[in-house]
């Protein structure tokens, strides 16, 4: 590429425009970092600062600032993540309503905000006010009738298509990495993989802007997964301002773990759930120091979001519920049934979605991303408009399903038959038979459920930001509410049955269908993502009480068991496998009896290992070796006869060191001897100046013997984050095992395709 050395003009502010000069210690794109080296570099840096802090006051202050910089980064991440989440919530609220109408007094108000100050709202039409008009009223001055309906339908589809088209064009032109959920790639990045530009500033901007467009277009997707990506981009941005984090990839990943926690915290209004989600799902190494800092970042983010107050009631999430009606032991049976449903749906969704994504990856379908988005949006809009439960945004649907029926609820779901002679307040009477509205709602919900199950399979994974927490919760909430209403009506009509007799007397308020919706949502979410503790904590932070922990846990555990019976992977691990990322999962267990010698390279029949000798190769030999092979590093041995191991040299550092030496040092030519020892080898008098490269040599590479069981080797790779490991026998170098070899071996043992592992 271009050498930016000659562009170093004055002015440090302009330096960010220059290309970053690759120095020794940075990593190439799509490679894995060396965790041990990052850790030792950080320890060195810390030791240097501590020793210098005793010299003067200024150094002492610098050491204090260095210690506090971690907390400052967390504060900044929390502030920015909370602000962005507030902006996204407000904008989504407005743009979702834009599809149906517009506020005449001030165009930036959504439907609810527009009617906020109106005096013309009546009890029967709580949502209508003259200030907010549908498009048909505005354009042709009619609000009822077939022509108005068709015009509204047409404009709804038009708005949805324009939002989706705009979103996919922005993604394609400005930041192609902004598509998808982001969580599989962030998991891989946090395990040590480098994807340059994935957490960049343009990705952050485009993901925020297009997320609003995509959620408003009515597609069946959520914003929680992309919010984690947005928060990690903020984390990357702030950590690049401090050299402590910008120069050390290992420390940077600590910051990213905390940023992921802040992302989930603002998505669900659940700080503790966010930290647990980061711990359980996203992070790879999670030291205790990160736990406290993640919690701080999540709290700051939640607090910032609360002060922006996007939903007007100091709530953080649209579907926060606040009731505390009790539940009964006998209801555990339908809860467990909901758990089974969640597990089955999770398995179905994962299998179908992976199959569809694989088809998109390998066939002609993948060549038309923009067309695909437009077609899916058109289908979604056309089918979603007639059914009132799919026409509204999914968050509002979940909110309606979670809520218990009370005086403030005027929805169809609460249309129970009232006894006209009742003296108690109307909507407070328990134990009533369902009215016609409830029956209508039931079959509409059933249709909506089938539609959502099918369309989410095709929506998740398109080239737009898409999350799947909200659609899964919607599917579960619909199923749960239907089961809840069913149980309620069963209890009403058959009070004398043995299962109802003890706890559900006539006239008693026994069944809360909203609780069944919550349990169903938790079950479906757990079935797809296989979250355990973090799911339960997020759900109970959403409901604001500890009463419902037992039903939520029962459903989550059941759904995880049922889903695990069919396949071990959650949706994110499945996408990691689909993309071939080099992710060594901590949850996998390796129980086969192979040895290191079965996995190491070179195998029998392969060319021998490419090694460097400690003082007998010339610069030209090394350059030829580098050009002919594409290995990431070379072991250094004493000589070709006695293959005793000295150390390991990285390819990138060899290239840079040779290039530097040729440019800067005198007398280095192609015939110069390259040596890795302390003292230069004895050379005849007129030979060219030798090149000392001991500083790039890693003198302590990890070695195992050839009879080490692979179980131990996999454990070493996992726990230490190694990239390669050398195999020796009685001190002689036999071969090398890289992370890619380990992953391929594990895939082979599990009867999967070992060629699907693509990256190093």
């Amino acid at each position: 590429m271009v050498n930016a050395g000659e562009m170093n003009g004055s002015g440090n502010l302009m330096d960010f425009l220059d290309e970053p000069f690759p120095d020794v210690g940075t990593y190439e794109d799509f490679h894995t970092i060396d965790w041990l080296r990052e850790k030792s570099r950080d320890t060195d840096r810390h030791r240097k600062i501590t020793s210098k802090s005793k010299e003067s006051i200024w150094e002492f202050i610098k050491s204090l600032l260095d210690a506090w910089s971690g907390w400052v980064v967390m504060l900044l991440i929390g502030l920015l993540a909370g602000t962005l989440a507030g902006v996204i919530d407000l904008a989504v609220d407005w743009m979702t309503d834009l599809k149906e109408g517009v506020c005449l007094s001030a165009f930036w108000y959504s439907h609810e905000q527009c009617c906020w100050t109106s005096n013309e709202t009546t009890f029967e039409d709580r949502d209508k006010c003259p200030l907010w008009q549908k498009w048909s009223e505005l354009l042709v001055n009619q609000s009822e009738g077939a022509s108005a309906y068709i015009l509204n339908y047409f404009l709804y589809i038009l708005w949805a298509l324009s939002f989706a088209f705009l979103a996919v064009s922005l993604v394609r032109v400005f930041a192609p990495y902004a598509c998808g959920s982001g969580i599989p790639e962030i998991k891989t990045i946090l395990s040590g993989f480098i994807i340059r530009g994935y957490l960049g500033k343009w990705t952050l901007l485009i993901k925020t802007v297009t997320l609003v467009l995509v959620v408003s277009s009515g597609l069946s997707l959520g914003k929680e997964g992309p919010l984690v990506h947005v928060a990690c981009c903020c984390g990357n941005f702030f950590s690049s301002l401090f050299s402590k984090y910008s120069k050390n990839e290992g420390k940077r990943r600590e910051v990213l773990s905390a940023a992921a926690a802040a992302g989930v915290s603002v998505a669900f209004g659940a700080p503790i759930g966010g930290v647990l989600f980061s711990l359980e799902e996203v992070s790879y190494y999670f030291p205790l120091k990160t736990l406290w800092r993640s919690f701080f970042a999540a709290l700051v983010a939640a607090f910032t979001l609360r002060s922006i107050n996007p939903f007007g009631n100091s709530r953080l999430v649209l579907f926060y519920v606040e009731y505390h009606t009790p539940w009964y032991m006998a209801e555990l049976f339908p809860f467990i049934l909901l758990g089974v449903f969640g597990g089955l749906w999770g398995t179905l969704f994962i299998r179908c979605n992976i199959a569809w994504c694989r088809r998109r990856k390998t066939t002609q379908l993948g060549k038309y991303p923009v067309l695909e988005v437009i077609v899916v949006t058109a289908i979604t809009a056309i089918i979603a408009y007639p059914n009132p439960y799919t026409r509204q945004s999914t968050s509002e649907l979940i909110s309606e399903l979670f809520n218990d029926c009370g005086a403030l609820e005027s929805s169809q779901l609460c249309d129970y038959i009232n006894d006209p002679n009742m003296t108690r307040p109307v909507d407070d009477i328990p134990d009533r038979p369902a009215g016609p509205g409830v029956y209508t709602a039931m079959w509409q919900l059933a249709l909506a459920l089938i539609f959502k199950i099918i369309i989410t399979i095709f929506t998740f994974g398109m080239k737009i930001p898409s999350g799947l927490f909200i659609p899964s919760m919607a599917v579960g909430a619909m199923a749960g509410r239907m089961v809840g209403v069913g149980v309620e009506q069963l209890a009403y009509h058959h009070h004398d049955w043995i299962i109802f007799r003890n706890w559900c007397r006539p006239g008693a308020d026994c069944v809360t269908p909203g609780l069944y919706a919550m349990v169903g949502a938790a079950a479906c979410l757990g079935g797809v993502t296989r979250m355990t503790v973090s799911l339960v904590v997020i759900m109970f932070e959403l409901t604001g009480g500890l009463e419902y922990i037992v039903p939520l846990m029962a459903a989550a555990v059941t759904s995880k068991w049922v889903a695990d019976a069919f396949g071990k992977e959650g949706i994110y691990e499945a996408h990691i496998h689909l993309n071939g990322y080099p992710f060594l999962d901590v949850k996998d267990e390796f129980t086969h009896r192979t040895l290191a010698t079965d996995v190491m390279r070179p195998r029998r029949g392969e060319p021998p290992l490419s090694v460097l000798t400690q003082d007998s190769m010339t610069v030209e030999d090394v350059e030829t070796l580098i050009k002919e092979t594409d290995y990431n590093g070379f072991p250094v041995v004493v000589s070709k006869d006695s293959e005793r191991l000295i150390g390991f040299a990285q390819r990138r550092e060899l290239i840079l060191a040779i290039k530097n030496a040729r440019q800067r040092q005198d007398g280095i030519v192609s015939n110069s001897i390259m040596y890795f020892t302390e003292e230069p080898p004895g050379l005849p008098a007129n030979s060219p100046h030798p090149l000392k490269l001991r500083r790039i040599l890693n003198l302590s590479p990890f070695t195992v013997t050839d009879h080490t069981p692979m179980e131990t080797v996999v454990d070493i790779f996992r726990k230490l984050g190694l990239r390669q490991c050398l195999v020796t026998r009685s001190g002689r170098l036999l071969g090398i095992i890289t992370k890619k070899d380990v992953l391929r071996h594990m895939a082979q043992m599990a009867n999967q395709d070992p060629e699907s592992i693509m990256f190093n």
Binding site: E19, V87, P176, L408
Partner: protein, 197 residues
Amino acid sequence: TTVWSGFLRLCFVFGLSFLALTGLLLVQLANAAKNFEDVRCKCICPPYKEHSGYIYNKNITQKDCNCLHVVEPMPVPGPDVEAYCLRCECKYEERSSVTIKITIIIYLSILGLLLLYMVYLTFVEPILKRRLFGHSQLIQSDDDVGDHQPFANAHDVLARSRSRANVLNKVEYAQQRWKLQVQEQRKSVFDRHVVLS
């Protein structure tokens, strides 16, 4: 110059955090100096005997947000007030209309700017470059043949602009480098389906 650059970065960070905290404070102040209409207590009273249901709004403090203070004029005579008020549900709500207005307007302006830039990059810039450099100099690299994507001629512009080192060219140089990066990303994601499929 590392001390200078470190100092500059420190100042930048402090400035940024100061700005963020000021922004937060401003939001709070804006909330404090609220619009009269942004705070209310909303009471929904369902139908009772022969009175139909009604919704009452009043700007009142949270302490006084209950049926007795808000429902005026009371539609039912004295002895029935308690029964009527038992059915009513009162909720205290507040919002910040200023925040909503600023957020939506900022979002729409950012969206508009991005849209304009996208139109410029996709349609206007290739026409301008063709006119400036002439048809003969438009070298298309191998894998851009037949490629109608934006940034298709970033390579040759990069090569040309290496000579001068003033600010404007630095900006253009950075822009071309960014375009190359985006093109690489687009190839990985859309064409070869290597990442993010």
